[in-house]
């Protein structure tokens, strides 16, 4: 069964606000695509357009070979005919129905025989580890349990495509961790093409096979989590992904593979580019030492922020400030002199004007 989702030049306006500005995407069957971006970037709108809850103002959407939306042809299949399931941010469990009624609602509409329905309820509850909760009302369960029921409700009618709109944002940090692995597992077992909306980069990086980073209704980068993290396509993506934040340093290309940062120079692959650039360096890609070594640059340890597994050190030199991340607890003290060294392989150079990554 082909469940490739193809989105072509999708545009959606709310009054004068452009929520989607010509978005095009192809989502491979079985992929776990995360739409990632700050609030108001259009990620939820895109999801709702795929679901059929919003009518876009331009473009086309295919699910498999079926054209489910086309502005130009005036086609828009209602949500129920798109064979997809949606998990809402606030779960949207019907408060006046017990768990089993919530799950069988869609099945009853399909006029499924009763035994089959009961079987589906049992299976779905088992999949989300909520056996025995059939007779609870939503308000009688915790947020995490409601979340699982919302997932079970979607699983029970076996849609071709899973859509999830920030399903974990209302849970506490601990539960969110558990649910991440559960959802990833469910996707693995069901193999359904999934579109997942979140503003949480860790969720995106840990769960997806592909990430689309969005800003102001435009896709900034569409890539694997690994590529998104290590080779952010532009300054926005670089800045948005990573915690602690990426270090962005303004500089001027000086010679073949040297960037002048003002008080010191740094070696980097420039791919023949010239002029003003911004260097992006991940905090964990900077080596820090209390001993001087050739090529290392002297900084002052401005603040030390240990968090158990790792430590973030904020180092200053003049008005330049860098975040450095080291594993474990650091021995460095505040206001100590430190020497930083940079690995040219891990630096990304961005054109200062366009903000785009400079590549070969």
């Amino acid at each position: 069964m082909d469940t490739t989702i193809r989105i072509k030049k999708l545009t959606k306006k709310f009054g004068k606000v452009v929520a989607l500005n010509g978005v095009s995407l192809v989502i491979e069957p079985g992929a776990f695509l995360t739409l990632l971006g700050p609030s108001g970037c259009g990620k939820t709108t895109l999801l709702r357009c795929v679901a059929g809850l919003e009518d876009p103002d331009g473009g086309e959407i295919y699910i498999g070979n079926q054209l489910v939306f086309s502005y130009e042809k005036g086609i828009s299949l209602p949500p129920s005919q798109r064979e997809l399931g949606l998990v809402f941010q606030n779960y949207a469990l019907w408060p006046h129905m017990k768990v089993d009624k919530n799950i069988t609602f869609a099945l009853e509409i399909q006029k499924m025989p009763k035994e089959e329905m009961n079987k589906r309820v049992k299976e779905a509850l088992k999949e989300v580890q909520m056996e025995g909760y059939e007779d609870r009302y939503p308000r009688e369960m915790s947020g995490g349990q409601q979340q699982r029921i919302a997932l079970a409700r979607m699983l029970a009618y076996r849609p071709k495509v899973f859509l999830m709109d920030e399903p974990l944002s209302n849970l506490d940090a601990r539960l969110r961790m558990d649910m991440r692995s559960e959802i990833k597992r469910l996707h693995h077992v069901a193999g359904a093409t999934t579109i997942y909306v979140t503003h949480d980069q860790v969720e995106a990086l840990t769960m997806s096979t592909t990430i689309a980073v969005m800003k102001e209704g435009v896709i900034q980068q569409f890539d694997t989590p690994d590529k998104i993290y290590h080779f952010p396509g532009n300054l926005f993506v670089a800045d948005f992904i990573g915690n602690p934040k990426v270090n962005l340093l303004k500089g001027l290309i000086n010679g073949k593979d040297t960037v002048d940062l003002g008080s010191f120079k740094i070696t980097a692959e420039t791919f023949g580019a010239t002029g003003n650039v911004v260097i992006g360096i991940r905090p964990e890609d900077i080596a820090i030492s209390t001993q001087s070594s050739p090529g290392a640059v002297e900084f002052n340890a401005y603040s030390i922020l240990p968090s158990g597994a790792d430590t973030t050190i904020i180092a200053r030199r003049g008005d330049m400030e860098l975040n450095i991340r080291v594993m474990g607890i650091s021995e460095i003290k505040m206001d100590e002199k430190v020497w930083l060294s940079f690995n040219p392989q891990t630096l990304n150079l961005y054109n200062k004007e366009s903000g785009n990554l400079i590549t070969s």
């Binding site: 209602p78 408060p95 509409i109 009618y157």
Partner: protein
């Protein structure tokens, strides 16, 4: 990344696409419903208003025989000239207008003081028995507005108008002065004591949403209690005050029952009573001129309110979360204030009702001694010596029909209004931000500016002849139902909107994705989830329709008489004791209905009134 090309299409395909898009827009449930509601409301509100206006500028059949050159149906400004200029204008328009204003302004300030003070005491202080006071405060609203007027007459009736004296004269031995018996003073007191409930509810809702930290911050900075009340609390409840102001002002401006009882006997006419007089005299166009004047003043007041508060729906609840408020300590004042509040409740509720009841057992009106007690007024057989030969109220078969009419009217109106409210709420909330949604909301709001008596007048103008597919409805029971539904539109839509707001749009979308069609969504998701709001709205409508007078007084006929208009009939025929019996029956039915309906699904009158 992807093949983003979109196939080129021809002109005819584009046309098909456009019509498909239009059809899809049209068949969205909120759009289809909105359009349907717009058509219904157009018939119920817009056409009547137009008819009202057009009647005042055309010659009427009664004019033809009276005035030279009048041709029925032709355009004329005669009625406007007559009603606004010269001695005629002074007596028929200016004086009643002045009186209406006097009463509205007096009422608003008195009601504001009573309702505001009571709200503050109940919500913000450590006064004892606050729950009880809270319950009692809403009761006057359940009684017909002219109950207090009747009770007033039981006490202060004087013999200048003939008939029997009141309790005051019976005890003191002296006739109370005219200004105390009739006219603006008693009218204002009686109307204010009925409508203070609005202020009470609005202000207490607003007070409940104020974080007491705000007041405590002032206290920590050393402000005394009076200063805190004046500088912090009052400004915060000001919007609620203004909402109450507008509501009570426009209600008092159009009120009919009380001025008819306490004003008309001394020729103290207000716009509503004057309108009724003109209609009774057959001068429809003249009466409608007064109706339009009444509407104009309502519109002016409401737009002033919007200017002042700045939002169009400011009469709605002041939203906000509930906080645990620290009550102000009344300290040594506690007992005194409690006694005053209790005495007040006694004076406005228990004593009037008690006296009214006692009065119904008197054989000869005005003699309050025990040996004058009788059941004649209740169950006596027709006897030419008493009550103009009218039989006791309970023996009068017409009363049962009348009571049934009242109940039927209230139930039907409440049912239709409730359903209409949910549909209005759905269309408005689901379509938020679209022009259609705004239009529906504004149309539903329109009857708010039309005082009841004017709306009644409009319906005479409209339905006395067949209109489009609708036959002539004058004199039918259906007309009473339709006009009552129209009158309640703003409240239905408000409670529908607030009920829908509580049902997140995801709940319906989840059902849509699950494959439920519109009907299944309404039946299984939207209706069940709005039940509590529906019941509260139903209750409010039931009560207000039960005791509605000004709206239908112009429309009832012998066969469609309801209890409220029946009391007026008895009063106008000087059968006050029998009128009082009908009032008691009316209150009894309303309270019973309130108790029965209130049992369902957490509906409550207070919720219905405040709309949350």
């Amino acid at each position: 990344m992807t093949d983003a090309s979109i196939s080129q299409i021809s002109l005819s395909q584009r046309l098909t696409a456009n019509s498909r898009r239009f059809f899809r827009w049209l068949t969205k449930p909120q759009v289809l419903l909105s359009l349907l509601l717009v058509i219904i409301m157009f018939y119920m509100v817009i056409i009547p208003l137009y008819k009202l206006l057009s009647t005042t500028v055309t010659w009427q059949i009664v004019d033809v025989s009276r005035i030279e050159g009048a041709v029925e149906g032709e355009f004329t400004l005669y009625h406007w000239k007559r009603m606004t200029t010269g001695i005629f204008g002074k007596i028929y328009t200016l004086e009643p207008l002045t009186h209406s204003f006097t009463i509205a302004i007096g009422t608003v300030f008195l009601a504001m003081f009573i309702g505001g003070a009571l709200a503050w005491l109940v919500v913000r202080t450590d006064m004892p028995r606050r729950n009880l006071i809270n319950q009692l405060a809403v009761l006057p609203y359940i009684m017909p507005s002219w109950t207090l007027a009747q009770a007033w007459l039981v006490i202060f009736k004087n013999r200048t108008q003939g008939g029997a004296p009141g309790l005051f004269e019976y005890i003191v031995g002296q006739s109370p002065p005219d200004w105390l018996s009739y006219g603006p003073v008693p009218i204002i007191i009686c109307v204010a004591l009925h409508y203070y409930t609005f202020f009470y509810l609005f202000v207490s809702a607003a007070l409940m949403s104020i974080d007491s930290n705000l007041e405590e911050a002032g206290e920590l900075m050393g402000a005394d209690r009076w200063r805190i009340l004046r500088k912090i609390t009052l400004p915060l409840v000001l919007p609620a005050m203004l909402s109450g102001f507008i509501m009570v002002f426009s209600k008092a401006l159009g009120t009919f029952g009380t001025p008819n009882i306490l004003g008309s006997p001394v020729r103290y006419y207000v716009l509503s009573t004057m309108m009724r007089g003109s209609l009774a005299a057959g001068d429809k166009a003249d009466a409608f001129v007064l109706g339009i004047i009444l509407i104009l003043f309502s519109i002016v007041t409401i737009s002033l309110n919007q200017r002042l508060i700045g939002t169009r729906r400011s009469y709605e609840t002041i939203g906000g979360r509930g906080f645990v408020a620290t009550p102000s300590k009344l300290r040594s004042w506690k007992k005194i204030i409690f006694v005053i509040v209790v005495a007040f409740q006694l004076a406005v509720l228990i004593i009037p009702l008690g006296l009214l009841t006692y009065d119904t057992f008197l054989l000869r009106s005005g003699d309050f001694s025990f040996d004058n007690l009788t059941l004649q007024n209740w169950i006596g057989e027709a006897n030419p010596d008493y009550n103009d030969g009218q039989p006791g109220v309970l023996r009068n078969p017409r009363i049962w029909k009348t009571a049934w009419n009242s109940i039927r009217l209230a139930l039907l109106t409440a049912l239709f209004s409730g359903i209409l409210g949910v549909l209005l709420g759905y269309s408005i909330v689901k379509g938020r931000g679209t022009r259609l949604s705004k239009m529906v909301e504004q149309m539903a709001y329109l009857p708010y500016v039309i005082p009841g008596i004017a709306l009644g007048a409009v319906y005479i103008a409209m339905f006395s002849k067949p209109l489009g597919p609708i036959p002539s409805l004058y004199g039918t029971f259906a007309l009473l139902v339709v006009v009552s539904i129209a009158d309640k539109l703003p409240y239905s839509s408000r409670s529908g909107v607030s009920a829908m707001m509580q049902v997140g749009h995801e709940l319906e979308e989840a059902a849509e994705i699950a494959g439920a069609n519109v009907w299944q969504r309404f039946k299984q998701i939207i209706f069940p989830l709005t039940t509590a709001g529906f019941v509260s709205g139903f209750l409010l409508t039931f009560i207000t329709v039960m005791r509605e007078l000004s709206l239908i007084i112009l429309l009832v006929t012998r066969d469609t008489q309801v209890l409220a208009s029946q009391t007026m009939w008895y009063i106008e025929n000087n059968l006050d004791q029998m009128a009082n019996i009908v009032i008691l029956i009316l209150i009894l039915i309303t309270v019973t209905g309130n108790l029965i309906i209130g049992r369902f699904r957490g509906g409550s009158l207070q919720k219905g009134l405040v709309g949350r």
